[in-house]
Symmetry: C3
Subunit: 124 residues, 3 copies
């Protein structure tokens, strides 16, 4: 926790890199809500997509931040806006209709489990 | 909003195309719930999968529709059924045990953010 | 239902196989909560990722189990822990900072739809 997933259609540049993810992670760090090493982000390219029913040039970048439940609505809104602002700076496209969006979802805290894997051979 | 994600195992044909996604988007449009340009759909092929613990020929197509919260249960059910019906028409497979499923999930409206990206060089 | 999604960064071995997924499915079967053929699992490799803002060797494996709503918190916690224990046995990595995590999320039961696809040509 938190888990950040960035989906981006293949007509958007600048977002599918480790560097871009680190910039997003820095934006999350700046919120003061998370420990540095806990922020786990991935970029997922979307090759097959459709926006609406027209064939016009369109695309999207969608950020989904999943955090343990219990945070206040205003904190979630601030996290979402910080991600969107970072995406505005990172993303490049010649396509006129690229939608950028950010959502924040809750992870059920009571059933969340986590551990650090020890290197080497598994015990079984 | 809405976001539609179609996962399909690689023993199912007909679904991993822009054309198939547009057909699904048309089904969503027909519901009267969404603006045309807001419907953002992607198809995600699943190469490594397991259904249960048997090695028998199986597979699945899973539609996940994420919409802003606040819609009535009967509307969600109708959206789910419309997607499933469209999938029944679109998908082809020689495998006897393909499961088709559709779920509708809520996006937290209060923290959802969205903008349209302006083409060209980012400002920073 | 249930749907299990395993994301793994590409510095983790042992998890991106049908055999590994079957082992996880067996752990879910052992809970007594699910019918064998209903357990649908996929492994998704993550090529572009960042953990925090450091460049140190890190990575993660994230299990997300989505089940129909209504199960008790202690059942969800047990499912999460069973998945984490199975991941500990399955995953291998030379990287010292691999985080393993498991979450359980609810699927809205009222709007979930499912059918079995009939082989052959679709009716339309």
């Amino acid at each position: 926790m938190p888990h950040l997933t960035i989906e981006y259609t293949d007509n958007v540049q600048g977002i599918g890199t480790v560097s871009a993810l680190r910039t997003l992670n820095e934006a999350l760090m700046a919120s003061g809500q998370f420990r540095e090493a806990d922020i786990k982000s991935r970029a997922v390219p979307i090759g097959t997509f459709a926006v609406g029913t027209q064939t016009a040039g369109r695309g999207f970048v969608h950020a989904r931040l999943a955090i343990l439940d219990g945070r206040a609505p205003e904190i979630k809104k601030a996290l979402s806006e910080a991600l969107l602002e970072a995406l505005r700076c990172i993303c490049r496209s010649d396509c006129p209709g690229i939608q950028l969006c950010a959502e924040v979802s809750d992870i059920d805290r009571a059933s969340y489990s986590k551990t650090i894997h020890e290197p080497g051979t598994p015990s079984t």
